[in-house]
């Protein structure tokens, strides 16, 4: 209410949003990513236990980049669902991140394909001999078998790509025609979309992460994966918003928006801690061998340290550092903390995936190279899309509200 942006101001902002980042920037990450993945492949194929390690690194980094997109998709759906005005200008960033989901999905497809060649280095339930000697796996085999697994994977991927593209396309079309009906449609469909996202993410986490140990199960696991994805998605959004503010790319995105994005990030990170602790405490309390086995594995031979790292780095430090209002509005603090949270999200996934095959924490060229590869290729796509559309939804009916947004 302090300063109302007049129509002229808004037109300037619109014009500025059409500025494009130079297209060359896309080539570098593409080459970098391709080389990194090739390096990882070569290194892995040269050593004896390399392929198995590569499969896990692949899954880890695939899920890592995937969860950034999923977090962004949840963010978009949520903003539409509650008809949020403040977030309109940062929504394009989220839309682009969401639509970049296709890259990690394509890269992860070989993991599912390998199942049909009898590869069981990743998912033990694909090992016919093991299943024949194991009653539990036999009972689970109606769900955990290669064809059904692949069908589900295709379903999740299709749903996500469809949703992500629809959000981005509808929003971009509105940039041209300014049709307010688009907004109404986006809002009304976001409720079923969020429902669908919730279900697919839950089952995808069951399939791709939980079934690494096919005996073990935890009903809260899907929410755990969801909360991690929210943290990852919002961290990346916060970083991009902070960088945009520092570079003064558009005055439509400023500290007020950053403040609210980081508030969401802060809340979702507390939610992550809450869920992670809930899962741990219930298993600890019930003390049933079939549940504790998963945590026992993760509390021995060097893995126990990672639990402490997660508790401190993923929760306590960001919780205290980002608590003051000033910290949430400070681009440097936000970038540092979001980077830290992304690293912690990676560690979290590492802690979920790696103990399943490695005797003790292993970190080397394979992990680094696949990490660089996946991240570079993911952002290559994101940058490309960000360059080919205005960086804010310029004809959204709530644009004025968002531009003049002030955190009370």
């Amino acid at each position: 209410m302090a300063s109302t942006a007049g129509p002229e101001n808004l037109d300037q902002i619109r014009a500025a949003a059409m500025l494009r980042i130079s297209g060359q920037r896309v080539a570098t990450p593409a080459v970098l990513g391709g080389c990194a993945l090739a390096t990882a492949l070569t290194v892995a194929l040269m050593s004896q236990d390399g392929p198995r390690r590569l499969a896990h690194a692949w899954l880890l980094n695939g899920w890592f980049t995937l969860s950034i997109s999923l977090g962004a998709l949840f963010f978009i759906g949520l903003q539409h669902l509650v008809r949020a005005g403040w977030s309109v200008t940062v929504r394009r960033v989220a839309e682009v991140l969401g639509a970049s989901i296709s890259n990690p999905l394509i890269l992860m497809a070989p993991l599912a394909l390998l199942l049909f060649f009898g590869y069981c280095g990743l998912f033990p339930w694909n090992d016919g001999e093991l299943v024949a000697s194991d009653r539990i796996l036999q009972n689970k085999s109606t769900y955990l078998n290669a064809p059904f697994f692949a069908v589900r994977a295709v379903f999740y991927a299709g749903t996500w790509v469809f949703i992500a593209r629809w959000y981005l396309k509808a929003s971009c079309r509105q940039d041209q025609n300014g049709d307010t009906k688009t907004t109404t449609r986006l809002e009304s469909r976001s409720a079923p979309i969020l429902l669908l996202l919730g279900v697919t993410v839950t089952f995808a986490a069951f399939d791709w992460l939980m079934s690494l140990d096919p005996h073990w199960f935890s009903t809260i696991f899907g929410i755990y994966a969801f909360s991690g994805a929210m943290v990852a998605g919002l961290s990346v959004i916060a970083i991009i918003v902070a960088v945009m503010i520092r570079r003064r790319i558009t005055e439509a995105i400023n500290c007020e928006h950053l403040h609210d994005v980081v508030k969401l990030l802060y809340g979702m990170n507390c939610f992550w801690a809450y869920i992670a602790f809930s899962q741990y405490m219930l298993i600890w309390y019930a003390n049933i061998p079939e549940e504790t086995v998963w945590l026992k594995l993760r509390q021995e031979q060097g893995w126990d340290g990672m639990q402490t790292i997660l508790a401190v780095g993923h929760f306590i430090v960001p919780f205290l550092v980002l608590m003051p209002r000033a910290a949430k509005r400070n681009t440097v603090v936000v970038i540092a903390m979001s980077m830290g949270l992304l690293a912690m999200h990676w560690v979290d996934l590492y802690w979920i995936i790696y103990p399943q095959f490695a005797d003790s924490p292993a970190f080397g060229l394979i992990e680094v190279a696949t990490g660089i590869g996946f991240v570079a290729l993911f952002f290559m796509l994101a940058i490309k899309m960000l360059c080919s559309a205005p960086i804010i939804p310029i004809r959204d009916p709530r644009l004025t509200e968002s531009v003049t947004h002030v955190v009370p």
């Binding site: 209410m1 602790f277 600890w284 309390y285 003390n287 002030v406």
Partner: protein, 428 residues
């Protein structure tokens, strides 16, 4: 009643300031913000703005510093967290230590939920109490409420109030200033009457009644604690008091045999009940009889001749202790069959009393250890079995001790450790 009433002092009119300040109404956010800026640039600091909704930028305009309330919240949260953990520790590990399903008496993990809840609760208390205290409440009277136009501050006007205690306040000048910046209906804030500073009589009465009422539950509880009643107690959580579960030794129409205690499913073995090792659990080589072995069986029935466990000093010491508890009453400390019970029975000339066999009798000395073990477990003729009182390992300990006892009777100097031998005489 002829005392002369002292002359009543003249009611001195209280010297009250003419005005406690000024209020002025504004009809837009922008004008009130502008007025605040003008007044502050004129040096006036004690300004308050009453508005129907929060105004962005007002804090800055008024020069308000950040509220200390967040620190109160964080302090409350820290106290709550600490006291939650302390409470869990003190209750479970100190005041009422009780091991539940093998968990440690105190662990941080299950303490966190209560600590978390208390952190939230205490932070909320701190904020609630702090907000009330910083708001200057409870306030018995607010003179601004006497001004009719002030009521619109909750509706459609922004009311600016200047306190007369401000050092730059002067009634005429400030009033002119307020008129100048567009304040409508500039009014004096009336002074507070002395009577309004006192707590009204009705409030005192109500408080007194509440205090008395508060005693009622305490009195009822005290009465209940000091009297007896034949009525069944009230059950507030009746589904916990009367659970739909089956108790031992009750009937149950669900099962065809009508028993609620279910017999073990055929072929199942309870934990630690497998007892596969016959030598250890029965004292005989496998293939010779089952659990219901009879002590009257012959020596030839496959009794174990060597101890099926390692015999060391701690086992024998344990055996001596158990022997003195379970056997010595009848068999005597030395095993000669002269225990206190036996002596007393003989003294009373109890005809039915069978004198316990001397453990040093030749047939017993010759018995294999397995048979001795069996005698303890299942009893022999008049001697009862002790399987239900003495665990298996302890029974073997007793056997080892009995063997040691037997050996004392035929001991030679070679059996005595060489460092003790020279002093044997003195020991005697």
């Amino acid at each position: 009643m002829s005392t002369v009433a002292p002359p009543r002092p003249e009611a001195v009119p209280e010297i009250e300031p003419e005005s406690n300040g000024l209020v002025a109404s504004f009809n837009s956010v922008d004008t009130v913000l502008e007025a605040v800026r003008v007044l502050r640039s004129g040096g006036i600091e004690r300004i308050d703005v009453h508005s129907p909704h929060p105004i962005h930028g007002l804090d800055d305009a008024l020069g308000l510093k950040g509220s200390p309330l967040p620190w109160g919240a964080i302090a409350g949260a820290a106290i709550g967290l600490g006291s939650g953990i302390w409470m869990a520790w003190w209750m479970n590990a100190v005041d009422y230590p009780f091991i539940i399903s093998g968990k440690p008496l105190f662990s941080i993990i299950p303490s966190l939920p209560i600590a978390f809840e208390l952190a939230i609760l205490f932070a909320a208390f701190a904020v609630f109490g702090g907000a009330i205290a910083f708001g200057g409440m409870p306030k018995l009277a607010n003179q601004k409420f006497r001004i009719p136009s002030f009521a619109r501050a909750t509706d459609d006007r922004y009311v600016l109030a200047v306190d007369s205690r401000d050092k730059c306040f002067d009634l005429v000048g400030t009033r002119a200033l307020l008129d100048e910046v567009g304040g409508e209906g500039v009014t004096d804030i009336p002074p507070v009457a002395t009577s309004e500073k006192r707590i009204p009589r009705t409030v005192w009465m109500a408080a007194a009644v509440l205090c008395v009422l508060a005693l009622v539950p305490a009195v009822l509880i005290a009465k209940a604690r000091n009297s007896t009643s034949t009525k069944p107690r009230l059950s507030f959580v009746s589904d916990m008091d009367h659970q739909p579960k089956f108790k031992p030794q009750t009937t149950n129409s669900f099962f065809p045999d009508g028993r609620s205690m279910r017999p073990q499913v055929e072929g199942t073995v309870a934990r630690d009940d497998l007892r596969e090792d016959d030598q250890y659990y029965l004292g005989r080589n496998s293939g010779h009889g089952g659990l219901a072995a009879n002590a009257a069986e012959k020596d030839s029935d496959g009794w174990v001749t060597a101890f099926p466990l390692t015999v060391d000093e701690s086992l024998i010491r344990r055996g001596r202790e158990r022997y003195q508890i379970f056997c010595a009453t009848c068999h005597g400390q030395g095993g000669d069959g002269d225990g206190l019970v036996t002596l007393r029975a003989l003294e009373l000339e109890q005809g039915t009393w069978v004198k316990p066999t001397s453990l040093h009798a030749e047939p017993i000395r010759g018995q294999p250890v397995g048979r001795l073990f069996n005698s303890i477990s299942n009893g022999v003729r008049k001697m009862p079995g002790y399987a239900s009182q003495i665990p298996v390992r302890d029974r073997w300990g007793i056997v080892a001790y009995v063997r040691a006892l037997q050996r004392t009777r035929a001991a030679t100097s070679a059996d005595v450790p060489s460092e003790i031998l020279p002093n044997m005489r003195e020991l005697n």
